[in-house]
């Protein structure tokens, strides 16, 4: 696995970043895909990008506690206003992808594993 900056993921996988634009230098080596909050608390790792369809403010608390580098909302799901407000306070980037969780996770995995296609998609 490689370490890739969040900015590169945003660019290559077409993410729409909604806040904490100054945090895109964060380094990512893993993603974690789950919609169960306790599961992320148990199995997420510091620096992970969290891929989920949950949009309520508690996701920010989870990301803050685990030290995740950002949250990707899939299927073009829009974060609740309160979610963005808290994400601003906690400086946690919320990003929106039009892809499904399956597709986004697969493409992020390809980027991070660096086995193929790591420059262009």
């Amino acid at each position: 696995m490689k370490i890739v900056k969040l900015s590169r993921i945003i660019e290559q996988l077409n993410l729409d970043i909604r806040n904490a634009q100054d945090q895109v230098h964060r380094e990512v080596k893993r993603g974690y895909t789950s919609d169960l909050l306790s599961d992320v608390l148990a199995n997420g790792e510091e620096g992970d990008v969290w891929i989920t369809l949950q949009i309520h403010p508690n996701i920010v608390a989870i990301a803050g506690m685990k030290g995740l580098s950002g949250i990707v909302l899939i299927n073009g799901r829009q974060p609740q206003e309160e979610t963005i407000a808290r994400a601003r306070e906690e400086n946690i980037p919320i990003m929106v992808s039009e892809m499904t969780a399956f597709e986004f996770s697969g493409r992020l995995y390809a980027m991070l594993s660096g086995t193929k296609n790591d420059e262009g998609i």
């Binding site: 660019e11 634009q21 608390l41 949950q54 309520h56 803050g64």
Partner: protein, 335 residues
């Protein structure tokens, strides 16, 4: 934020081309990056502006710049800014050996300006790109000139702000980590309590966020703080989901943290079952929010060095966890 700030510039990594502020010390660097986005031009600009008029002479200008220790002024006519004259213009004029003349013949008329409510990072970019030493600042609503900003003003403001934040954090830490040293006693503990409202998802997690901040300020190891915060969060969410409310009480002792989470009902009929991974009685709509994996109590156990769960149906549930402050090893992943 305005639309043009909402995406990092395409192509290059924005963190790699932020000019004067790039540096190897990543925490410091992040802080400054944060500040240049957070602070507005109006936070750093000079407000008492010295101005000149188009008919002020170049020889008078010299006295104005010298007396006020400034390197340029906006040139105003009838309440409107018609140009900017700078020390560079003055030196050029001096060097040319030409006779004295009014400022209007030497000033720059195509003036780049900033709006007062733009983030500081825009001013840095513009100063860099244009090479100008100063930018007049305009109020977006009235269109009036309300200040002037230079690189010096920006640096001064950033240093000041960094110093303030540094001091605040220092003071917090100092107070916190010295608390125990100043107290004499066989048993010393610092206790704080928050109440948790039942069924209120909009505020769920707040008590644990507060606990996390306090523990950080006490200077406790981040790994310990994280475990305490996760355990407290899981317990808090259970109180929100399954009860009508309760309290979280944290007691920090020199060697351990004790967290008590108490509620007044409905209690757990089979505690052993509740402790099993995957067991959950969460309702459908709670599950839709991503709760109800049946992992909460398991997570708490994993984070704690010791856990006690006592529950009486219709009476309430008492959860007590201990976390050793000095056990900073990566905690066992087993349940």
């Amino acid at each position: 934020m305005k639309p043009n700030e909402s995406k990092p510039s395409s192509g290059a990594d924005p963190s790699e081309n932020s000019g004067a502020f790039a540096g190897p010390d990543s925490t410091r660097y992040t802080k400054i990056q944060e500040l240049v986005y957070e602070l507005k031009v109006s936070d750093a600009m000079m407000r008492n502006i010295i101005t000149t008029t188009p008919d002020t002479s170049m020889s008078e200008l010299r006295e104005i710049l010298r007396a006020n220790r400034i390197s340029g002024t906006p040139v105003m006519e009838g309440g409107k800014m018609v140009g900017v004259i700078s020390i560079e213009d003055f030196i050029m004029w001096l060097g040319s050996g030409k006779a004295d003349c009014p400022i209007k013949e030497k000033m720059t008329t195509e003036v780049d300006t900033m709006y007062a409510n733009e983030p500081l990072v825009h001013a840095i970019g513009k100063l860099d790109k244009t090479g100008y030493g100063r930018l007049p600042v305009i109020d977006r609503q009235s269109g009036k000139l309300i200040g002037i900003i230079t690189k010096g003003d920006i640096i001064e403001r950033l240093l000041h702000k960094l110093e303030i934040e540094y001091h605040e954090e220092e003071i917090h830490r100092y107070r916190a980590s010295h608390i125990f040293e100043d107290i004499i006693g066989d048993k010393v503990a610092l206790t704080f309590q928050s109440s948790v409202k039942g069924k209120d998802f909009s505020r769920a997690g707040e008590a644990s966020s507060g606990l996390k901040k306090t523990l950080e300020r006490l200077g406790i190891h981040p790994q310990i703080v994280r475990r305490a915060a996760i355990a407290s969060y899981e317990a808090e969410i259970n109180v929100v989901i399954y009860t009508d409310g309760g309290t979280i009480t944290a007691s920090v002792q020199p060697d351990k943290i004790r967290i008590d989470v108490n509620d007044t009902g409905p209690g757990i009929s089979d505690v052993d079952k509740a402790m099993q991974p995957g067991y959950s009685t969460a309702s459908e709509w709670v599950r839709e929010m991503g709760f109800g994996a049946g992992m909460g109590l398991v997570n708490i156990k994993k984070c704690a060095d010791k856990m006690e769960l006592v529950s009486t149906v219709d009476k309430g549930t008492h959860l007590r966890i201990y976390i050793d402050i000095n056990n900073t090893q990566e905690h066992s992943k087993a349940g």
